[in-house]
Protein backbone atom coordinates (compact mmCIF):
# COMPACT_ATOMS: atom_id res chain seq x y z
CA UNK A 1 0.00 0.00 0.00
CA UNK A 2 1.35 3.41 -0.94
CA UNK A 3 1.16 5.60 2.16
CA UNK A 4 -1.13 8.58 1.95
CA UNK A 5 0.37 12.02 2.02
CA UNK A 6 -0.78 14.64 4.45
CA UNK A 7 0.53 18.04 3.41
CA UNK A 8 0.99 20.56 6.17
CA UNK A 9 2.86 21.35 9.32
CA UNK A 10 2.08 20.11 12.80
CA UNK A 11 1.98 23.58 14.31
CA UNK A 12 -1.41 23.97 12.64
CA UNK A 13 -4.09 22.49 14.92
CA UNK A 14 -5.94 21.38 11.79
CA UNK A 15 -2.97 19.34 10.61
CA UNK A 16 -2.37 18.14 14.17
CA UNK A 17 -5.91 16.84 14.34
CA UNK A 18 -5.40 14.64 11.26
CA UNK A 19 -2.04 13.50 12.59
CA UNK A 20 -3.67 12.41 15.84
CA UNK A 21 -6.38 10.57 13.92
CA UNK A 22 -3.75 8.75 11.82
CA UNK A 23 -1.80 7.96 15.00
CA UNK A 24 -4.89 6.57 16.72
CA UNK A 25 -5.45 4.32 13.70
CA UNK A 26 -1.88 3.03 13.97
CA UNK A 27 -0.28 5.15 11.23
CA UNK A 28 -0.21 4.94 7.44
CA UNK A 29 0.16 8.63 6.61
CA UNK A 30 3.31 10.50 5.57
CA UNK A 31 3.49 14.11 6.71
CA UNK A 32 5.14 16.55 4.31
CA UNK A 33 5.27 20.21 3.45
CA UNK A 34 3.79 20.91 0.02
CA UNK A 35 6.60 21.69 -2.43
CA UNK A 36 6.03 25.29 -3.50
CA UNK A 37 3.88 26.12 -0.47
CA UNK A 38 0.15 26.38 0.12
CA UNK A 39 -0.27 29.58 -1.86
CA UNK A 40 1.27 28.09 -5.00
CA UNK A 41 -0.81 27.54 -8.13
CA UNK A 42 -0.20 23.80 -7.93
CA UNK A 43 -1.58 23.69 -4.37
CA UNK A 44 -4.52 25.94 -5.14
CA UNK A 45 -5.44 23.76 -8.10
CA UNK A 46 -5.96 20.98 -5.55
CA UNK A 47 -7.22 23.14 -2.69
CA UNK A 48 -8.52 26.55 -3.76
CA UNK A 49 -9.01 27.52 -0.10
CA UNK A 50 -5.20 27.64 0.15
CA UNK A 51 -5.10 26.26 3.66
CA UNK A 52 -3.46 23.28 5.26
CA UNK A 53 -3.91 20.34 5.56
CA UNK A 54 -4.45 18.53 2.29
CA UNK A 55 -4.65 14.75 2.09
CA UNK A 56 -3.66 12.95 -1.09
CA UNK A 57 -4.56 9.27 -1.28
CA UNK A 58 -4.09 8.14 -4.87
CA UNK A 59 -6.92 9.79 -6.77
CA UNK A 60 -8.61 11.15 -3.67
CA UNK A 61 -7.54 14.72 -2.91
CA UNK A 62 -9.11 16.16 0.21
CA UNK A 63 -8.88 19.53 1.94
CA UNK A 64 -10.51 20.40 5.28
CA UNK A 65 -9.39 18.61 8.42
CA UNK A 66 -12.84 17.53 9.61
CA UNK A 67 -13.46 15.80 6.29
CA UNK A 68 -9.98 14.27 6.22
CA UNK A 69 -10.42 12.84 9.73
CA UNK A 70 -13.60 10.95 8.88
CA UNK A 71 -11.94 9.71 5.69
CA UNK A 72 -8.87 8.46 7.56
CA UNK A 73 -11.10 6.68 10.04
CA UNK A 74 -12.98 4.98 7.22
CA UNK A 75 -10.01 3.84 5.13
CA UNK A 76 -7.13 3.15 7.52
CA UNK A 77 -6.92 -0.14 9.37
CA UNK A 78 -6.92 0.10 13.16
CA UNK A 79 -9.59 0.77 15.76
CA UNK A 80 -12.70 2.73 14.72
CA UNK A 81 -12.64 6.35 15.84
CA UNK A 82 -16.39 6.74 15.55
CA UNK A 83 -18.95 4.94 17.74
CA UNK A 84 -21.10 2.31 16.07
CA UNK A 85 -24.55 3.74 16.84
CA UNK A 86 -26.05 6.78 15.14
CA UNK A 87 -26.80 8.74 18.33
CA UNK A 88 -23.24 8.39 19.64
CA UNK A 89 -21.74 9.21 16.25
CA UNK A 90 -23.81 12.38 16.25
CA UNK A 91 -22.39 13.30 19.67
CA UNK A 92 -18.82 12.87 18.44
CA UNK A 93 -19.56 14.92 15.33
CA UNK A 94 -21.21 17.55 17.50
CA UNK A 95 -18.07 18.00 19.61
CA UNK A 96 -15.98 18.37 16.44
CA UNK A 97 -18.51 20.79 15.02
CA UNK A 98 -18.49 22.98 18.12
CA UNK A 99 -14.71 23.19 17.79
CA UNK A 100 -14.92 24.06 14.07
CA UNK A 101 -17.76 26.57 14.24
CA UNK A 102 -17.21 28.24 17.61
CA UNK A 103 -13.90 27.46 19.32
CA UNK A 104 -11.44 27.74 16.43
CA UNK A 105 -12.84 30.93 14.85
CA UNK A 106 -12.96 32.76 18.20
CA UNK A 107 -9.50 31.54 19.30
CA UNK A 108 -7.97 32.39 15.95
CA UNK A 109 -9.48 35.90 16.11
CA UNK A 110 -7.73 36.29 19.48
CA UNK A 111 -4.52 34.82 18.09
CA UNK A 112 -4.30 37.26 15.20
CA UNK A 113 -5.37 40.30 17.26
CA UNK A 114 -2.36 42.55 17.94
CA UNK A 115 -0.99 42.21 21.46
CA UNK A 116 -1.82 45.85 22.13
CA UNK A 117 -5.35 45.63 20.66
CA UNK A 118 -7.86 47.79 22.54
CA UNK A 119 -10.10 45.93 24.98
CA UNK A 120 -13.24 46.48 22.92
CA UNK A 121 -11.66 44.74 19.92
CA UNK A 122 -10.84 41.59 21.83
CA UNK A 123 -13.95 41.57 24.04
CA UNK A 124 -16.11 39.69 21.52
CA UNK A 125 -13.66 36.90 20.57
CA UNK A 126 -12.68 36.60 24.23
CA UNK A 127 -16.29 36.06 25.22
CA UNK A 128 -16.89 33.72 22.26
CA UNK A 129 -13.87 31.59 23.18
CA UNK A 130 -15.17 31.27 26.75
CA UNK A 131 -18.67 30.46 25.45
CA UNK A 132 -17.29 27.77 23.14
CA UNK A 133 -15.44 26.17 26.07
CA UNK A 134 -18.72 26.15 28.00
CA UNK A 135 -20.50 24.48 25.06
CA UNK A 136 -17.80 21.81 24.97
CA UNK A 137 -18.09 21.31 28.72
CA UNK A 138 -21.83 20.80 28.23
CA UNK A 139 -21.47 18.03 25.66
CA UNK A 140 -18.22 16.38 26.74
CA UNK A 141 -18.40 12.87 28.19
CA UNK A 142 -17.44 12.03 31.76
CA UNK A 143 -14.01 10.86 30.66
CA UNK A 144 -11.35 9.73 30.29
CA UNK A 145 -12.14 10.39 26.61
CA UNK A 146 -14.21 13.10 24.94
CA UNK A 147 -17.00 10.63 24.36
CA UNK A 148 -17.41 7.09 25.57
CA UNK A 149 -14.73 4.62 26.58
CA UNK A 150 -12.38 4.93 23.62
CA UNK A 151 -10.49 7.46 21.55
CA UNK A 152 -12.75 9.06 18.97
CA UNK A 153 -12.28 11.77 16.37
CA UNK A 154 -13.52 14.20 19.03
CA UNK A 155 -10.34 13.61 21.09
CA UNK A 156 -8.20 14.15 17.99
CA UNK A 157 -10.04 17.37 17.15
CA UNK A 158 -10.35 18.87 20.60
CA UNK A 159 -6.71 18.56 21.61
CA UNK A 160 -5.57 21.28 19.18
CA UNK A 161 -8.67 23.36 19.81
CA UNK A 162 -8.18 23.40 23.55
CA UNK A 163 -4.42 23.92 23.32
CA UNK A 164 -4.98 26.96 21.11
CA UNK A 165 -7.82 28.37 23.24
CA UNK A 166 -5.84 28.02 26.48
CA UNK A 167 -2.79 29.62 24.86
CA UNK A 168 -4.62 32.67 23.52
CA UNK A 169 -6.69 33.12 26.69
CA UNK A 170 -3.43 33.06 28.68
CA UNK A 171 -1.91 35.65 26.37
CA UNK A 172 -4.84 37.92 27.14
CA UNK A 173 -4.34 37.53 30.87
CA UNK A 174 -7.16 35.09 31.59
CA UNK A 175 -6.37 32.90 34.60
CA UNK A 176 -8.21 29.82 35.92
CA UNK A 177 -9.06 28.92 32.34
CA UNK A 178 -10.54 25.53 33.16
CA UNK A 179 -12.14 26.56 36.46
CA UNK A 180 -15.80 25.63 36.55
CA UNK A 181 -15.25 23.20 33.67
CA UNK A 182 -14.54 19.95 35.50
CA UNK A 183 -15.08 17.62 32.53
CA UNK A 184 -12.80 19.64 30.26
CA UNK A 185 -10.24 19.85 33.07
CA UNK A 186 -10.26 16.09 33.58
CA UNK A 187 -10.08 15.39 29.88
CA UNK A 188 -7.23 17.89 29.37
CA UNK A 189 -5.32 16.24 32.20
CA UNK A 190 -5.68 12.72 30.88
CA UNK A 191 -5.53 13.06 27.09
CA UNK A 192 -1.90 14.20 27.03
CA UNK A 193 -0.95 11.16 29.12
CA UNK A 194 -2.80 8.74 26.87
CA UNK A 195 -0.52 5.89 25.77
CA UNK A 196 -1.59 6.15 22.12
CA UNK A 197 -2.02 9.90 21.61
CA UNK A 198 0.48 11.19 24.20
CA UNK A 199 3.65 10.82 22.09
CA UNK A 200 1.99 12.41 19.02
CA UNK A 201 0.69 15.23 21.21
CA UNK A 202 4.24 15.82 22.48
CA UNK A 203 5.41 16.02 18.86
CA UNK A 204 2.66 18.55 18.07
CA UNK A 205 3.54 20.63 21.13
CA UNK A 206 7.16 20.77 20.06
CA UNK A 207 6.16 21.95 16.59
CA UNK A 208 3.85 24.60 18.09
CA UNK A 209 6.52 25.85 20.51
CA UNK A 210 9.18 26.19 17.82
CA UNK A 211 6.68 27.95 15.54
CA UNK A 212 5.73 30.41 18.27
CA UNK A 213 9.42 31.11 18.98
CA UNK A 214 10.14 31.59 15.33
CA UNK A 215 7.19 33.93 14.87
CA UNK A 216 7.85 35.63 18.19
CA UNK A 217 4.28 35.02 19.35
Amino acid sequence: MVPMKLFGSLYSPFVGRCWLAATAKGGGVDLEMFPGGIKSDAYRALNPMGRMPLLVDGEVVLPESAVICEYLDAVLPGPPLMPSDAGSRARVRLLCRIADLYLFPASIALLVAPKAAPAEVIAAPLRETQDALNHLEHFLGEGPFAFGENITLADCTLYGGLALALMVLGRHGVTGRLDGRPKLGRWWGSIREDATLGPAIAQIREAAISYEKQRNL
Binding site: P48, V60, L62, P63, E64, Y71, G87, R93, R97, N134
Partner: protein
Protein backbone atom coordinates in the same frame (compact mmCIF):
# COMPACT_ATOMS: atom_id res chain seq x y z
CA UNK B 1 -38.91 13.10 15.74
CA UNK B 2 -39.29 16.77 16.39
CA UNK B 3 -37.32 19.42 14.57
CA UNK B 4 -37.47 22.76 16.36
CA UNK B 5 -37.00 25.87 14.28
CA UNK B 6 -38.32 27.94 11.43
CA UNK B 7 -37.89 27.16 7.75
CA UNK B 8 -36.80 30.75 7.22
CA UNK B 9 -33.46 29.66 8.73
CA UNK B 10 -31.26 27.99 6.10
CA UNK B 11 -29.97 25.66 8.81
CA UNK B 12 -33.45 24.42 9.65
CA UNK B 13 -34.31 24.26 5.95
CA UNK B 14 -31.42 21.91 5.18
CA UNK B 15 -32.69 19.41 7.76
CA UNK B 16 -36.16 19.75 6.28
CA UNK B 17 -34.78 18.96 2.83
CA UNK B 18 -32.85 15.98 4.17
CA UNK B 19 -36.06 14.58 5.68
CA UNK B 20 -37.88 15.24 2.39
CA UNK B 21 -35.14 13.49 0.42
CA UNK B 22 -35.54 10.49 2.70
CA UNK B 23 -39.26 10.56 1.92
CA UNK B 24 -39.95 10.97 5.62
CA UNK B 25 -41.72 13.43 7.80
CA UNK B 26 -40.27 15.01 10.88
CA UNK B 27 -42.54 17.28 12.91
CA UNK B 28 -41.46 20.87 12.50
CA UNK B 29 -42.27 23.20 15.38
CA UNK B 30 -41.18 26.46 16.87
CA UNK B 31 -39.84 25.92 20.37
CA UNK B 32 -42.64 27.20 22.55
CA UNK B 33 -40.57 29.29 24.96
CA UNK B 34 -38.12 30.44 22.33
CA UNK B 35 -34.52 29.50 21.63
CA UNK B 36 -33.13 31.75 24.36
CA UNK B 37 -35.24 30.13 27.10
CA UNK B 38 -33.55 28.21 29.90
CA UNK B 39 -35.17 24.93 28.87
CA UNK B 40 -33.93 25.31 25.28
CA UNK B 41 -30.45 26.36 26.37
CA UNK B 42 -30.30 23.32 28.64
CA UNK B 43 -30.55 21.17 25.50
CA UNK B 44 -28.71 23.50 23.15
CA UNK B 45 -26.45 25.98 24.96
CA UNK B 46 -25.53 27.58 21.61
CA UNK B 47 -29.09 28.97 21.57
CA UNK B 48 -29.53 28.52 17.84
CA UNK B 49 -31.97 26.68 15.65
CA UNK B 50 -32.46 23.90 14.69
CA UNK B 51 -32.65 21.34 17.45
CA UNK B 52 -33.68 17.76 16.74
CA UNK B 53 -35.29 15.72 19.50
CA UNK B 54 -35.57 11.98 18.89
CA UNK B 55 -36.50 10.26 22.14
CA UNK B 56 -33.45 10.56 24.39
CA UNK B 57 -31.33 12.18 21.70
CA UNK B 58 -31.33 16.00 21.62
CA UNK B 59 -29.14 17.25 18.79
CA UNK B 60 -28.17 20.78 17.85
CA UNK B 61 -26.20 21.78 14.72
CA UNK B 62 -27.77 21.21 11.32
CA UNK B 63 -24.85 19.32 9.76
CA UNK B 64 -24.84 16.82 12.60
CA UNK B 65 -28.64 16.52 12.44
CA UNK B 66 -28.55 15.86 8.69
CA UNK B 67 -26.17 12.91 9.01
CA UNK B 68 -28.24 11.59 11.91
CA UNK B 69 -31.45 11.81 9.86
CA UNK B 70 -29.78 10.02 6.97
CA UNK B 71 -28.60 7.23 9.26
CA UNK B 72 -31.83 6.72 11.19
CA UNK B 73 -34.74 7.47 8.82
CA UNK B 74 -35.91 4.92 6.26
CA UNK B 75 -35.61 5.89 2.61
CA UNK B 76 -32.76 6.26 0.12
CA UNK B 77 -29.21 6.74 1.42
CA UNK B 78 -28.10 10.37 1.17
CA UNK B 79 -24.43 9.52 1.53
CA UNK B 80 -22.41 7.61 -1.08
CA UNK B 81 -21.23 4.19 0.05
CA UNK B 82 -17.49 4.70 -0.58
CA UNK B 83 -15.31 6.76 1.79
CA UNK B 84 -14.04 9.02 -1.02
CA UNK B 85 -17.60 9.86 -2.08
CA UNK B 86 -18.68 10.45 1.51
CA UNK B 87 -15.73 12.79 1.96
CA UNK B 88 -16.65 14.78 -1.15
CA UNK B 89 -20.24 15.20 0.07
CA UNK B 90 -19.06 16.32 3.52
CA UNK B 91 -16.56 18.67 1.93
CA UNK B 92 -19.30 20.57 0.07
CA UNK B 93 -21.32 21.03 3.26
CA UNK B 94 -18.20 22.01 5.13
CA UNK B 95 -17.33 24.67 2.55
CA UNK B 96 -20.81 26.14 2.84
CA UNK B 97 -20.54 26.16 6.64
CA UNK B 98 -17.03 27.56 6.91
CA UNK B 99 -16.79 29.90 3.93
CA UNK B 100 -20.28 30.91 2.81
CA UNK B 101 -22.52 31.01 5.89
CA UNK B 102 -20.35 33.45 7.86
CA UNK B 103 -20.27 36.22 5.26
CA UNK B 104 -23.94 35.57 4.39
CA UNK B 105 -25.03 36.11 8.00
CA UNK B 106 -22.88 39.22 8.19
CA UNK B 107 -24.49 40.61 5.03
CA UNK B 108 -27.94 39.65 6.27
CA UNK B 109 -27.47 41.70 9.45
CA UNK B 110 -25.85 44.67 7.71
CA UNK B 111 -27.92 47.54 6.36
CA UNK B 112 -26.96 48.68 2.84
CA UNK B 113 -25.65 51.97 4.27
CA UNK B 114 -23.39 50.31 6.89
CA UNK B 115 -19.60 50.50 6.70
CA UNK B 116 -18.87 50.04 2.98
CA UNK B 117 -15.47 48.46 3.60
CA UNK B 118 -16.91 45.74 5.85
CA UNK B 119 -19.68 45.02 3.37
CA UNK B 120 -17.20 44.80 0.51
CA UNK B 121 -15.07 42.36 2.52
CA UNK B 122 -18.09 40.16 3.28
CA UNK B 123 -19.16 40.23 -0.39
CA UNK B 124 -15.64 39.21 -1.42
CA UNK B 125 -15.64 36.41 1.17
CA UNK B 126 -19.01 35.11 -0.08
CA UNK B 127 -17.65 35.31 -3.63
CA UNK B 128 -14.71 33.16 -2.62
CA UNK B 129 -17.12 30.69 -1.03
CA UNK B 130 -18.96 30.37 -4.36
CA UNK B 131 -15.67 29.82 -6.18
CA UNK B 132 -14.75 27.00 -3.79
CA UNK B 133 -18.16 25.38 -4.25
CA UNK B 134 -17.84 25.67 -8.03
CA UNK B 135 -14.49 23.90 -7.80
CA UNK B 136 -15.80 20.89 -5.91
CA UNK B 137 -19.45 20.55 -6.96
CA UNK B 138 -20.48 17.91 -9.50
CA UNK B 139 -20.99 18.97 -13.10
CA UNK B 140 -24.16 17.08 -13.96
CA UNK B 141 -26.84 18.86 -11.96
CA UNK B 142 -26.20 16.95 -8.73
CA UNK B 143 -23.91 18.13 -5.97
CA UNK B 144 -22.12 14.78 -6.08
CA UNK B 145 -22.58 11.66 -8.16
CA UNK B 146 -25.82 10.72 -9.87
CA UNK B 147 -28.31 10.74 -7.04
CA UNK B 148 -29.40 13.10 -4.28
CA UNK B 149 -27.01 13.43 -1.35
CA UNK B 150 -26.91 15.46 1.83
CA UNK B 151 -24.83 18.01 -0.06
CA UNK B 152 -27.83 18.90 -2.25
CA UNK B 153 -29.91 19.35 0.91
CA UNK B 154 -27.37 21.46 2.78
CA UNK B 155 -26.28 23.62 -0.14
CA UNK B 156 -29.67 24.62 -1.53
CA UNK B 157 -30.76 26.79 1.43
CA UNK B 158 -27.24 28.12 2.02
CA UNK B 159 -26.74 29.14 -1.60
CA UNK B 160 -30.26 30.60 -1.72
CA UNK B 161 -29.59 32.64 1.41
CA UNK B 162 -26.24 33.87 0.07
CA UNK B 163 -27.76 34.92 -3.26
CA UNK B 164 -30.58 36.78 -1.49
CA UNK B 165 -28.35 38.72 0.90
CA UNK B 166 -25.84 39.52 -1.85
CA UNK B 167 -28.70 40.92 -3.94
CA UNK B 168 -29.73 43.07 -0.99
CA UNK B 169 -26.28 44.64 -1.15
CA UNK B 170 -26.50 45.19 -4.88
CA UNK B 171 -24.36 42.27 -6.02
CA UNK B 172 -25.41 40.57 -9.23
CA UNK B 173 -26.64 36.99 -9.36
CA UNK B 174 -23.69 35.07 -8.04
CA UNK B 175 -24.52 31.88 -9.87
CA UNK B 176 -23.65 33.62 -13.15
CA UNK B 177 -20.13 32.70 -14.08
CA UNK B 178 -20.35 29.47 -12.11
CA UNK B 179 -21.64 26.99 -14.71
CA UNK B 180 -21.53 23.88 -12.54
CA UNK B 181 -23.28 25.65 -9.65
CA UNK B 182 -25.92 27.00 -12.05
CA UNK B 183 -26.59 23.54 -13.48
CA UNK B 184 -26.74 22.13 -9.95
CA UNK B 185 -29.18 24.82 -8.81
CA UNK B 186 -31.55 24.02 -11.67
CA UNK B 187 -31.31 20.29 -11.02
CA UNK B 188 -31.93 20.85 -7.35
CA UNK B 189 -35.01 23.06 -7.48
CA UNK B 190 -36.57 20.84 -10.15
CA UNK B 191 -35.89 17.63 -8.29
CA UNK B 192 -39.21 15.86 -7.66
CA UNK B 193 -38.18 14.75 -4.14
CA UNK B 194 -37.20 18.25 -3.08
CA UNK B 195 -39.55 20.46 -5.07
CA UNK B 196 -42.43 20.70 -2.57
CA UNK B 197 -40.12 21.17 0.40
CA UNK B 198 -38.20 23.90 -1.41
CA UNK B 199 -41.53 25.60 -2.17
CA UNK B 200 -42.39 25.55 1.54
CA UNK B 201 -38.99 26.97 2.42
CA UNK B 202 -39.28 29.74 -0.17
CA UNK B 203 -42.65 30.70 1.29
CA UNK B 204 -41.23 30.83 4.81
CA UNK B 205 -38.28 32.96 3.66
CA UNK B 206 -40.62 35.36 1.83
CA UNK B 207 -42.90 35.70 4.85
CA UNK B 208 -39.91 36.32 7.10
CA UNK B 209 -38.46 38.97 4.80
CA UNK B 210 -41.83 40.66 4.52
CA UNK B 211 -42.20 40.75 8.29
CA UNK B 212 -38.72 42.17 8.69
CA UNK B 213 -39.40 44.88 6.09
CA UNK B 214 -42.67 45.82 7.82
CA UNK B 215 -40.94 46.01 11.19
CA UNK B 216 -38.22 48.20 9.71
CA UNK B 217 -40.80 50.48 8.10
CA UNK B 218 -42.72 50.78 11.36
CA UNK B 219 -39.53 51.59 13.25
CA UNK B 220 -38.56 54.22 10.69
CA UNK B 221 -42.05 55.78 10.92
CA UNK B 222 -41.84 55.91 14.73
CA UNK B 223 -38.42 57.50 14.58
CA UNK B 224 -39.62 60.06 12.06
CA UNK B 225 -42.28 61.17 14.55
Amino acid sequence: MKLYGSLASPFVARCWLAAAAKGSNVDLELYEDGIKSDSYLAMNPMGKMPLLVDGDVALPESTVICEYLDETLPGPALMPSDPGGKAKVRLLTHIADLYLSGPSSQLSRAAPDDDAEQIAAAVAAADAGFTYLEHFIGGNGRAYGDSLTLADCTLQPSVNFAVLVLAKHGAKDKLDGHPKLSRWWKGCVENPSLKDAIGQIDEAVLAFRKRRAEEAAKKAATEAK
